[in-house]
Subunit: 227 residues, 2 copies
DNA sequence: ACCATCCAAATGTCCTACATTTGGAGGTCG
DNA sequence: CGACCTCCAAATGTAGGACATTTGGATGGT
């Protein structure tokens, strides 16, 4: 519903808000190309300048990317993800790694306390996919591994914590060139299964211990250990 | 070179970058009024449209606030603070409280490991101010209390963690109407001093224990101080 | 000294025009 | 028939002007 302005807030701000909502609602999916400016102009009944200001705001927020001669594409759907990503990119990788580990440990502990039967079933499904992806390409395995850990944190039931973890992880795995060879390590493999077991058993201490051990293993693999 | 990011950076984006830098550098302090668009236009040698798009972007980022008929004022100097603040405002206060506590605990632990002699001296100075503010107005005490805990986390030496904590705290203390009567509690008072002692002694376990106890005390006071 | 009025200044919105870049349509040549 | 080149429509980028709207202070009268 494209309503006309009635309040004292600037028109461009209202338009930008509508665009944000369209992105958040999925009407403009990530990766898609949004309608050109002149079409938005006639649909909204505002001038191209106003539309451009609203679009420019979202471009600087990192939600959109304008390609001259082509169109404007949706690049992200979370404002926090972009600003956190920029901040983490400037930070010391070790510092970012510590914060991420902190969130993951707490998320694993919470999962053992709050995970439902459906959550556990979902985790086992994702874990199966992760095991299956060990023989596939590296990118697919990294994706499956992240999907599993993300689901663990989400199962913890603290959406804010989960979102911070979720937005912190990709930048780190991108910055650090990990994804080395942590698939063939049987210890890591066993720890993943022990983690789900601890969550299912409702043992927060064991779950957090598994998470801590996993992060430690990952850190060891990252540092030297070039053997 | 596979990556040829020589794609022309829009002029408005460059201008917005300059404005951001001016804000971050302190040339445009928070609260001040920036030059009017007309002046920026002639100073930068670009059209008013371009200047307005850059300003509008920063307005939507939350860094600026435009007041028609008056001028444009600097509202914040950290992009992450704004987006984190918005996200936390939508979150469950309990969830936000947990994340903040998590960061504070780790920050206190790190402080015991990495704080320098100057850091400890600074902490004792801030702690004196906090003690002195116990008899003053409530707002002043809350400010002094936050300044102390913020300094503890900063002394931990993880800037990313400190920034997240710093940006997470105001929203929480604003949301929850705490600042109740946690100044007259002698236990809380002693714990603050024990925390600095543990940091100076380089005892991470004791420091984290003090932090945990402090958060627990605060939570108890918040929940119903009756029992 | 107080108050209503007016005015300059600043932002908000719209308009036209042109430049620049891109992707594809269409034709050409091997 | 396929690969390649040319050209054009489309989309965003930039510029400049015009007018509306709101604000804060100056102005002038009571």
């Amino acid at each position: 519903m494209l309503s006309s302005p009635q309040r004292a807030v600037p028109l461009a701000t209202q338009v930008a808000g509508q665009f944000k909502q369209l992105i958040a609602a999925g009407d403009w999916p990530v990766g898609s190309r949004i309608p050109p400016e002149h079409r938005l102009t006639e649909q909204l009944g505002v001038s191209r300048n106003t539309v451009r200001e609203a679009l420019s705001a979202l471009v600087h927020l990192g939600l959109l990317e304008a390609r001259p001669g082509d169109g404007t594409y949706v690049r992200a759907d979370s404002e926090l993800q972009v600003s956190l990503g920029r901040r983490v990119a400037e930070a010391d990788p070790d510092d970012a790694f510590e914060v991420r580990a902190l969130l993951e440990h707490r998320g694993s502990r919470r999962a053992a306390l709050h995970a439902t039967a459906e959550d556990v079933a979902h985790l086992r499904e994702l874990l199966d996919r992760r095991d299956a992806a060990r023989t596939g390409d590296l990118a697919g395995f990294v994706e499956a591994d992240f999907a599993f850990h993300r689901a663990v944190v989400i199962a913890g039931g603290n959406p804010l914590l989960a979102e911070l973890y979720q937005h912190l992880s990709p930048v780190i795995t991108q910055t650090i060139s990990d994804s080395a060879a942590l698939d063939h390590d049987s210890t890591v493999h066993d720890l993943h299964h022990h983690l789900v077991d601890a969550i299912e058993a409702g043992d927060p201490d064991a779950a957090e211990a598994c998470s801590v051990a996993l992060v430690a293993e990952g850190r060891d693999i990252l540092r030297g250990s070039a053997s």
